[in-house]
């Protein structure tokens, strides 16, 4: 953590800052440009005696070493988080309700209970049980649903396509429309269209997701009768995957839920792209690009939009996770037979195995996305791969 500016997540700053420095890269840059101080110099012996000719290689090597250390550290952190989540899920199993109670019926003898205790391994020490639970979970065995009496993994596999298709369409919608509108509102900053879009988006941010869904149902299903209000329509089975993309009713059923789910993310991405674009469009290199006589489109998209992508990809990546999480709400509104609806029903009926499995799956996803976004920075922004404050 940077001691001067308290940047919340200074991963890439910390990475490009020399080891041992207590301030992050952006603070150092500010300090150097504003007061001419080099806050990092004393911590880095190589730096003081470097010559212009030796500039690139040693620093690259040191960056690579640092990057590797960083990647290892991040992966370790993620694994630790997953272990803790696994512990929470396991404790839910162990301490919320009695698994034996849940599995045996009314007519049971003490011997039955004892036998099941040994079969389930409940007589083992806590750590052994936790280890067994984790190994089972890694192999995709999450136990049997109390409510449906079927393996949880089987139920999840059956429900997953619905949620994933919905999330994919919403995510696509949010990204394309969000970036498009963001660029539009930034370029036509004072136009009527841009102002209308901005005001509408303010309402979009404050409306709860489930209200958007209900209002859409009211308008398009009840009043106009154009689109179905619940379910997935007809689905086609391809192997284990049931898809709604191939039938007309399936596609129609996708429209309202995906708009509901994607709207919040869309407004978020739009506002972010807009503010980043406005920032970038002020820069000198944009003016220079215009002066070079480049066409407006090339300036806006090649030069400006590309440079807004780092924060946009961060937020978009992190939002992808919340799309799956918020699918719970959308799926309930539209009775969409996906994983989210399964989870909500599991909470209502205290179906612990389903809850635990969902918790673990979603954490793997969230942690994975977080990790991926952190690592993606290097792929996207070449400035992070070479030292930013180099001698030029």
């Amino acid at each position: 953590m940077c001691t001067a500016c308290d940047t919340p997540k200074p991963f890439f700053y910390r990475l490009t800052a020399p080891p041992g420095a207590t301030t992050c890269r952006s603070t150092q840059t500010v300090a150097r440009t504003v007061i001419g101080a080099d806050m990092s110099a004393s911590n880095h012996p190589q730096r003081s005696r470097r010559s212009a000719f030796r500039l690139t290689l040693p620093r690259r090597a040191y960056l690579l070493r640092d990057m590797l250390a960083y990647v290892i550290q991040r992966v370790g952190q993620s694994a630790l988080v997953l272990l803790v989540v696994g512990l929470v899920a396991f404790s839910m199993f162990r301490f919320v309700g009695d698994p034996i109670d849940n599995m045996l019926g009314q007519e049971r003898t003490q011997e039955d209970i004892e036998r099941l205790r040994i079969v389930l391994g409940l007589d083992q020490p806590f750590v052994v049980q936790y280890y067994r639970f984790l190994t089972e979970a890694v192999q995709g065995n999450f136990g049997v649903s109390y409510r449906q009496g079927r393996p949880v993994a089987e139920i999840l596999m059956e429900r997953a396509p619905a949620t994933l298709e919905l999330a994919a369409v919403s995510g696509f919608l949010a990204i394309t429309v969000g970036i498009g509108l963001g660029v539009f509102t930034a370029i036509r900053r004072n136009g009527i269209g841009a102002n209308v879009i901005m005001s509408v988006s303010l309402i979009g941010v404050s409306l709860p997701t489930f209200l958007i869904g209900i209002l859409l149902i009211y308008l398009f299903s009840v009043e106009l009768g154009w689109l179905p209000s619940f379910g997935r329509g007809e689905t086609v089975k391809i192997g284990n995957w049931s898809t709604g993309f191939l039938t007309e009713s399936g596609l129609k059923a996708l429209i309202l839920p995906s708009i509901t789910l994607g709207l919040y993310q869309m407004t978020l991405i739009m506002r972010l792209v807009r503010s980043e674009m406005l920032e970038v469009l002020r820069q000198d290199y944009i003016r220079f690009a215009r002066a070079r006589g480049l066409r407006e489109r090339a300036v806006n998209f090649r030069h400006a939009l590309k440079n807004t992508l780092v924060p946009v990809i961060t937020v978009t990546g992190l939002q992808l996770g919340s799309i799956i999480a918020f699918a719970i709400i959308t799926e309930t509104v539209f009775q969409w037979p996906g994983v989210g609806l399964l989870f909500i029903n599991a909470i209502q009926f205290v179906d612990i195995p389903v809850m635990a499995a969902y918790l673990m799956l979603i954490s793997v996803m969230f942690v994975g996305i977080n990790l991926l976004v952190d690592l993606l920075y290097f792929a996207i922004d070449p400035r992070l791969r070479v030292d930013r404050t180099g001698g030029h």
Partner: protein, 317 residues
């Protein structure tokens, strides 16, 4: 040199009210129509929720005052059987929608405010500890905060609710639901407070007044609570306002999903959940009026929070 005689009557200190009226803050408030409108709307809604038993024409929780014949009355039209008129219509059991909204808003606001208070107390305590004590305490608290921030708050709240539901015996579930809801939303929301308070504490603890307090021998807790806390409160106030809007929406969402306030104590979210069942048969008022109320409440608190953030930020003045 001539001594000026002391005035006979001592000059009165300005009263707290006149100080408040002359403050920058009030001046900012007077200049912003948006702030005044949203403040007016918030106070109107809060007051009508508090005084619901006096305002509401019916008591929706008193079965004696209900008449099934009044069911499904449309807004502002006399009922076909009884001839009674209801401003916002009635639901299937003849409950006055206006009254249920007033009582529902009470529960929504209570849960929201209590959850934010809980989150605030927890967040401030942990944030102060993390910032002032540092070391391992800080590492552990902030790591937990980071991990929790990875997951959406609503998901965390749902999980806590689900686990708590499994732990409480069946016969107490409905009574406990409101309190479980408060704890679940509060626990899902403390991170914001903790981060901000920690950040501000890190800055404050190196200032001279803290050193002075240490010198005269004040203990750690006293320094944290009496000296540092008052200086970090203004960002906390802003977050609390915005959190209130989020907590109200979170509560409504959970109740709408059926994992929140039970039907015996319906909040706005529960009312919307109930109303959704009547949407297809044409009784739109059972759904749309609670929805509009929720929207007005969330939007006005949100706008007030936005304004507060700008008004309390010295950089923007």
């Amino acid at each position: 040199m001539v001594d000026t005689p002391l005035p006979d009557t001592p000059i009165k200190d300005p009263s707290r009210l006149s100080l408040a009226l002359q403050s920058d803050f009030f001046f900012q408030f007077k200049r912003s129509p948006l702030a005044m409108v949203s403040f007016g709307l918030v106070s109107l809604l809060v007051l009508s929720a508090i005084f619901a038993p006096l305002i509401a024409p019916h008591n929706p929780f008193d079965p004696g005052s209900l008449n099934l014949m009044n069911g499904f009355s449309a807004p502002m039209t006399p009922n076909a059987f009884t001839g009674e008129t209801f401003w916002l219509g009635t639901d299937d059991q003849g409950r006055d929608v206006f009254s249920t909204i007033l009582y529902g808003m009470r529960i929504s606001l209570f849960v929201g405010a209590a959850a934010v208070t809980f989150a605030m107390v927890l967040g401030i305590t942990l944030g102060l500890l993390a910032g002032y004590v540092g070391g391992w305490t800080e590492t552990i608290i902030m790591r937990v905060a980071d991990v929790q921030l990875t997951f959406p708050a609503i998901l965390v709240a749902m999980l806590i609710f689900g686990v708590a539901k499994g732990v409480t015996p069946v016969e107490y579930r409905d009574q406990m639901a409101i309190w479980v809801l408060i704890i679940a939303i509060g626990l899902s929301d403390w991170v914001q407070f903790a981060r901000v308070v920690r950040g501000a504490t890190l800055v404050e603890k190196n200032k001279e007044y803290v050193a002075a307090a240490k010198l005269i021998g004040r203990t750690g807790p006293a320094i944290m609570l009496r000296h540092i806390l008052p200086n970090v409160l203004s960002p906390v106030l802003v977050i609390a306002t915005i959190s209130l809007a989020l907590a109200i929406i979170a509560e409504a969402t959970l109740s709408f999903l059926g994992v929140g306030a039970p039907a015996t104590q319906p909040s706005l979210g529960t009312l919307i959940r109930i109303g959704q069942g009547f949407l297809f048969s044409g009784e739109w008022w059972i759904l749309l009026f609670p929805a509009a109320t929720l929207l007005a409440l969330a939007l006005s608190v949100n706008l007030l929070g936005d304004w507060l953030r700008d008004a309390l930020n010295p950089r923007l003045r």
